[in-house]
Amino acid sequence: MAKVLVKGNEAIAQAAINAGCQCYFGYPITPQSEIGEYMGAHLPEMGRNFITAESELASINMVIGAGTTGTKAMTSSSSCGIALMQEAISAMCCAEVPGVIVSVMRGGPGLGNIAPAQGDYFQAVKGGGNGDYKTIVLSPSTVQEAIDLTYRAFYLSLKYRNPVMLLADGLLGQMMEPADFGEYPYKDPDVSTWALNGADNRPARNIVSLHMPEGELEQLSNRIFEKYEKIKKEETTYEGFMLEDAKLVLTAFGTVGRIAKSAVLKARGEGMKVGLFRPVTLFPFPEKQLNDVAKNADMVLDLELNQGQMLLDVRSSVFGACPVEFYGRSGGGMLTPDMIFEKVKELYAAINKTKVGVK
């Protein structure tokens, strides 16, 4: 199929439709309203469901309803709206309800602003909800990847009966570039063994998140954490760019990853051995893969549009293999290729100086 020019938000919406998403429930918020608008324009005429819900609380709980029937459903929102969904996301993990949540981050905290930002890494990856749980988090850096990861989100969500969050930022949501939709590439698992559709010739089923009997919740917790271990083993992905001989390794997720790529190219142009490690899955985080890279590097520089959130995962992955520095902007400020390049130049010089000192 030929490439078409498409806006990030609309690409996500169309990809969801291609993935077989039967229901969209959402509440408008900038910078992702195009997703709801696109769904509103297309789903009803396809005989699928679209509801502008009364709130994000309602949206995500409608997704839960759809998910308990084994139906592919999605909601989308931005920062403060995603905050309202956290209780339900926790419940989905506990009750093992599938569903896709698209989070197009804006500036925060509070109502913040509508500029691109990455301040919701913790919210997505560490979970703003209660209890022990993990949301699978996928982080696209291009419109093409937004399509591919939307497909993957629906698949993983059904495969593991766990919510999957597509974590994008306002820049990716609002930008346009050519992309190829292709076709939904996955074979979805059978849901008939667990989905609710009436207790017809089988024992009644329940999908609930309250487990009062002694030991029941602990048993459940152990079981879902075994599942998370399997997810870590089988689903972790990242992009490595010019890492083979990299002395300074940049880490960045989402659009910052591609901005950093420009800085890497510029640095390489000046003979600096710089590479980029971009996690595509934020949970599961590519811990071992980053550690392997860090062992051969002199320094890791983590870049984010926040005050240092993924930094914690980067540090724990590097695990002392080399020093980790951080450079970020927050509140809607944008990192540019030149800003990153200047930081790279400064740190690269420092690395070499230290080495000379050792000699």
């Binding site: 039967q22 229901c23 429930f25 469901n49 509801i51 819900a53 009364e54 709130s55 609380l57 309602a58 949206s59 709980n61 409608m62 997704v63 839960i64 309803g65 759809a66 998910g67 308990t68 029937t69 139906t71 459903a73 209780e87 339900a88 419940a91 009750a95 609710l196 559709n197 009436g198 207790a199 017809d200 010739n201 009644a204 089923r205 329940n206 999908i207 609930v208 998140s209 309250l210």
Partner: protein, 253 residues
């Protein structure tokens, strides 16, 4: 002499699903009514029940039905999601006043306005039962609860919310009533009302809502008998019984 079967436990209740409610509590009565109706409509194989938070939560312990759980106040949303995906299934929510009329009243109203083809049963015992009897939105002025130890004062916390009257105003509501289960006659009327709400869904008319005034003797610090008397003499004066909307009747007019 051949025995005549005069009563049979509903198939929609689990055989070993013994109710665990306090003596005099209204939940058991209403759950049994619901189970009987689902049997009567032969819907047991086609029902998905949505539980809520509070004493209304443990549906899967009592019902021989598929059950989806919902967080506090969100049962109508979960029900909406289920019904939209499975329009040929029978979907109802079972909630209390702390859930449907307090934390989740926004969802209640919007679900009614959308005219979702679901049925919603709200037990109103004018307090948060499971958490120990705190004041809810429907608590009566003057009612003593653990958060209003000297009685609810209107000048501090306002007035009780009349859920059924408000839901009746929503255009998507097909049937809406408030009933009580204080005696056999009332229980029969309650069953008739819930049946109407179910029929509204089954006939594709829209949203059905039944608010059931029920006793909470433990938190009211009354005996079951006193509680029933309290509903008749006090609660019903504020939360009046009646059918507030019935599109099948209006159509006939």
């Amino acid at each position: 002499m051949a025995e005549t079967l005069v009563y049979k436990r509903p198939e929609s209740l689990l055989k070993d699903g013994h109710f665990t409610f306090c003596p005099g509590c209204g939940h058991g009565v209403v759950l049994k009514i619901i189970a009987e109706l689902i049997d009567e409509f032969n819907l047991q194989k086609d029902t998905i029940a949505i539980s809520s938070v509070g004493c209304s939560i443990f549906l899967e312990k009592f019902f021989n039905l598929d059950v989806a759980g919902a967080s506090h106040g969100r049962s109508p949303c979960v029900a909406t999601g289920v019904k939209r995906c499975k329009p040929d299934k029978f979907v109802f929510t079972y909630q209390g006043d702390g859930d449907a009329a307090t934390i989740g009243f926004n969802e209640t109203i919007h679900t009614a306005c959308r005219g979702e083809h679901i049925s919603m049963i709200m037990i109103n015992n004018t307090n948060f039962g499971m958490t120990g009897g705190q004041a809810s939105a429907t608590t009566l002025v003057g009612q003593v609860t653990t958060t209003t130890p000297k009685g609810r004062k209107a000048e501090l916390t306002g007035y009780p919310l009349h859920a059924a009257e408000i839901v009746a105003k929503c255009d998507g509501t097909a049937y809406c009533a408030r009933v009580a289960i204080t005696d056999s006659k009332n229980i029969r009327q309650a069953k008739a009302a819930i049946k109407k709400a179910f029929e509204a869904q089954l006939n594709g008319l829209g949203f059905g809502f039944v608010e059931v005034l029920a006793a909470c003797p433990t938190n009211w610090h009354m005996t079951p008998v006193e509680s029933v008397k309290h509903i008749e003499e006090v609660t019903e004066k504020i939360h009046c019984l009646g059918v507030f909307k019935d599109v099948t009747v209006q159509e006939k007019v």
